[in-house]
Amino acid sequence: MKTGNRACVTGDDFRNSPPVDHVGIVERAERFTTRSIKSITKRAGLNMVLNMIDLTTLEGADTPNKVRQLCYKAEHLHDSILGLPSTAAVCVFPPFVKTAREALGDNSLVKIASVATYFPSGHTTLKSKLEETRRAVSDGADEIDMVISRGRFLSGDYNYVFDEIAAVKEACGDARLKVILETGELATLDNVRRASDIAIHAGGDFIKTSTGKIASAATIPITLVMLLAIRDHYAKTGKMVGMKPAGGISKSKLALHYLVMVKETLGEQWLTNEWFRFGASSLANDVLMQVAKLESGHYQAAHYFSKD
């Protein structure tokens, strides 16, 4: 039974989102990265990271076969190491949701996420976005990753952005909604905070940094701003919202530092794939190499791990 976030009319004026000091955020972010994660903490953390990955393929060249391989990998990360978890989800374009559902079946631990709403630009009519969302859900998507209309946001049309998210949320039905802010196009951390507040209030179950399609993707400072928005919402309402940094997270050390940030900002209860995800394509293999190193004591080579 999902307890999804719901759109709520709060009377909040999103122009009044709290200010963010960029330099202060960067300093705090740097503190997380000085945490030294060793031995059992590292091992447990790496397992958590694997289990939080939305294993992603979002290419123009995607084919059903590519998606089937991805689904297999999601459930069988590296069978020669016992006790590895599956990833949290696979993330595909809407036309491949059916393929993924066939590949994973109905009882898989791996969720199917799909980027509806004319990912990555979002430039289409609301009607098309809603149709695409409904179709992805009816094809078997558990989760919808939508993009916000950044142009509207930057022109100050916050109500439009809010209404659009709320409408997509409604179209999602039982599927959980991840709202992609595409922070790399928002220019300032104040905007990241404001967009986070809008997405949370409009009913997003997760807020997500990026499409991965532009150069500027998830960073620790940007993610921190979004975590703080989640934290303030939780403090006011008692409702949890999930977080998904995406794009550019390809190394396990960095992923562990994200976990440090989540732990110290939101607390341990967010350290599950119910509330925290990594949107990544190559992170899994780097984590697997680290796990193999811990198990064997030998530094690893990339060609021992399957590339999809």
């Binding site: 202060g24 030294s36 341990e268 350290l271």
Partner: protein, 485 residues
């Protein structure tokens, strides 16, 4: 090692810094380029405040030792250093900067072992900043005529320098670098609880090939320091430490023609206005008071929160305090290390007791403190009156006193309502209001939307009873030059 209990599931395993360091069993004075046994043959132990273990023993400086050191400094001043061109002096100082960078990790570890501060701080702040001080000042040596236009850049002679235990290596750099750049020679005494890194610096100075006697390091306690500042052939006295001792020094040298700079205590106000970026302000509060266990003269030990955001600030502050890792300073994850000495721990505990007795509400995060060594958890007092002791006196420990205010003029008055004037902080999103407050605060260093930031180019020093003279930056050079008025 002790960890915060709030995170049972994914705790940080210990991550101790394991690089081996070389600490001799015994250190003599460094005088005239040589290691000299103390004239009275006495040594005293220096211990690790986090374990209580003895690390080494160092020479106890007598009047005679100090005299030998001052004579060496005078001879070096007259013979070589005072005559050397600024360009060549600068090159020596650059060498010191580089040698510190090369041995940075070693110094960081020893600093943490001897003083109790977290390795994260000594590694990321103290040692790199010390190297930067030498590097910055080195470049001034041949440019002094541009620092004070139309003023002859004349050195003073022999500088006697007495430094505290809170930033042992950084303070040594902070004092020695400008003194050398301006052409003075030095007799420096590190604090008795933290002498090791200054002695390590002596190794660097020897390795850099500085002429004998240009820098002399004499160890000892208060009497040794008194012998230095009162020595008739010392031209310049630079002291960093408590206001009490600073006053004694000024009094004792009142009859002599010595140039004096004092960098003394503080009770800084850290002010959060209603429109502040609160999460960053809370981070600044934590850095302001729990950095280096609060053993910081410019620590933000008085927090003023505008009443309409008080609840949110306190909730966030306590949550942030809960994430602080307290314990083994050599662990790379430690945020708050050991209290520097038993004596200081007693002082801090006495103030905490006073605070509780005075009716203030205390909060300390739950944590298992190590059984050995000197420990005090991060502490915050709320419901504190402006007139209470914990809001008035410098505690020099991880103890924060919180008060509320309603208007800007009220908080300016409260913030300035202290004999101290070293530093202050303001958190505010509105530029014109921020500058109203920073302008009105009687303090030598004011941080707007940040706190406890230091840089060799940035002058540091206080108003009122926090001392006089500036250290660092262009203006800091003035402390070591004979500027006629």
């Amino acid at each position: 090692m002790a960890k915060k209990k709030s995170s049972p599931d994914w705790e940080y395993a210990s991550a101790p810094e394991t690089t081996a360091v070389n600490i001799a069993k015994r250190y003599d004075h460094f005088i005239n380029g040589k290691w000299i046994t103390p004239s009275n043959k006495k040594y005293f132990a220096t211990t690790s405040p986090s374990t209580g273990r003895k690390l080494s023993e160092v020479a106890e400086g007598s009047k005679k030792d100090v005299d030998t050191a001052v004579k060496a400094a005078r001879a070096a001043y007259n013979g070589v250093w005072g005559k050397m061109s600024g360009r060549e002096r600068g090159k020596y100082i650059y060498r010191i900067a580089r040698l510190i960078q090369e041995r940075a990790r070693e110094f960081a570890i020893i600093e943490t072992m001897d003083g109790g501060k977290p390795i994260r701080e000594s590694r990321d702040i103290d040692i790199p900043l010390a190297a930067n001080h030498f590097f910055y000042n080195a470049g001034w040596a041949d440019k002094l005529e541009y620092a004070f236009p139309n003023m002859p850049a004349k050195s003073l002679g022999v500088a006697g320098q007495v430094i505290p235990w809170n930033f042992p290596f950084l303070m040594a750099a902070w004092k020695i670098a400008p003194a050398l750049a301006t052409g003075n020679t030095v007799v420096l005494k590190p604090a008795e609880t933290t002498p090791l890194t200054a002695l390590k610096l002596a190794e660097v100075i020897a390795d850099a090939g500085l002429p004998d006697g240009v820098v002399n390091i004499v160890t000892g306690a208060g009497e040794t320091g008194a012998a230095i500042v009162n020595h008739p052939d010392v031209d310049k006295v630079a002291f960093t430490g408590s206001t009490g001792v600073g006053k004694l020094i000024q009094e004792s040298v009142a009859g002599a023609d010595k140039k004096v700079t004092l960098e003394l205590g503080g009770k800084a106000a850290n002010i959060i206005l209603e429109d502040a970026p609160i999460d960053q302000a809370v981070e600044g509060v934590v850095n302001g008071i729990y950095f280096n266990q609060g053993h910081v003269c410019c620590a933000g030990s008085r927090l003023f929160v505008q009443e309409n955001i008080y609840d949110e600030v306190m909730w966030k502050l306590k949550q942030r305090m809960d994430t602080l890792v307290i314990g083994d300073p050599l662990d790379k994850n430690t945020d708050v290390g050991a209290i520097n000495s038993k004596e200081q721990l007693r002082t801090i505990k006495r103030y905490i007791k006073e605070g509780v007795k005075g009716g203030a509400d205390i909060y300390q995060p739950e944590c298992d403190l190590p059984t050995k060594g000197n420990w005090c958890p991060p502490t915050v007092f709320t419901n504190v009156a402006q007139s209470s002791i914990i809001a008035k006196e410098e505690i020099f420990g991880p103890v924060l006193a919180v008060q509320t205010f309603r208007t800007v003029s009220e908080v300016i008055e409260k913030a300035n309502n202290t004999p101290y004037g070293l530093s202050a902080g303001v958190w505010c999103d509105k530029g014109s209001r921020l500058f109203q407050v920073t302008g009105a605060l009687d303090a030598g260093v004011v941080w707007g939307n940040t706190f406890n930031k230091f840089d060799p180019t940035s002058p540091f020093g206080g108003f009122k009873e926090s001392g006089y003279g500036r250290e660092g930056g262009l203006h800091g050079l003035g402390a070591y030059l004979d500027l006629p008025l």
